[in-house]
Symmetry: C2
Subunit: 161 residues, 2 copies
């Protein structure tokens, strides 16, 4: 099974098209100091996300993106073709970790892998798909790992029509 | 042990000050359509987060905030006094769910509870604290639940000085 590149947005997939082990690679996003500070001012106004000088005296040792900023960029990269699902990317929940902070100048990309596919018993038109994703920088360091449960539409079954 | 209100920012707590079962209540944030659309345009450009008319034809049945937007607002409410920790709120990872979407006009608040406290064995100056939080709207419906592992500083132990 071939990986799907960032142009995967053109061929959106139903649950029935997915296979466990299938992988998708997103495009890239370069995060800079202005983006980090703007997000932090709005959602996470802590010194290590707002000001490089102030951040040097903290356990981050320098300006670091809010973890929720890294999560939001991951979503953007998946929506833009990194995870091409029919009906979009609709999450119910999941688990995550921030192994390293994202820093100004980091070039981020997301690799996603299908790890479980569960058609709904009560709703023949959908199911739950578990996707593990790893957001890495240009040094191949993980900045955000996520295992998310997504609601994914099914193709109409022949017997249902 | 008394709950700490939104004015809790004035008395920031060390790991040693925390107890399992201790609860904190944040202030509130009212989310509106303009905020929902602005966040979605930047990070989660899907029809159900961008346009109410388009959202009506989806499983959301109307405009809904991106789940990462709800997560980011939760962080803001915790940083602004909803979870008053010395050194700020520094997460390593956790688990989350979005039981209901946040909608335009929703008034959100976050209740946080300390569920585990683990001093570090190798680093006497810090430890890991697990915090369970529940972000609810004005109808008391959960829109985001999070169990997060946070790095929290310890007071200098007498024996260490």
């Amino acid at each position: 099974m071939a990986d799907t590149g960032r142009d995967g947005a053109d061929k959106r997939l139903y649950l029935d098209d997915l296979q466990v082990g299938q992988r998708f690679m997103s495009g890239t996003h370069t995060i800079d100091e202005a983006q980090i500070v703007a997000f932090a001012q709005q959602f996470d106004p802590q010194p290590f996300h707002l000001d490089d000088a102030a951040a040097r005296g903290t356990m981050f040792g320098g300006l670091a993106a809010s973890g929720w900023h890294t999560a939001a960029i991951t979503m953007r990269l998946q929506v833009e073709g990194g995870l091409p699902l029919v009906g979009g990317i609709v999450g119910a929940g999941g688990e995550f970790a921030w192994p390293n902070p994202a820093r100004p100048g980091d070039i981020l990309r997301v690799e996603s892998e299908i790890v479980e596919i569960k058609p709904s018993r009560s709703r023949p038109d959908r199911g739950m798909v578990t996707v593990k994703s790893d957001t890495r920088n240009q040094r191949d360091e993980s900045v955000f790992t996520l295992t998310a449960r997504l609601v994914v539409p099914r193709r109409a079954a022949a017997g249902d029509i």
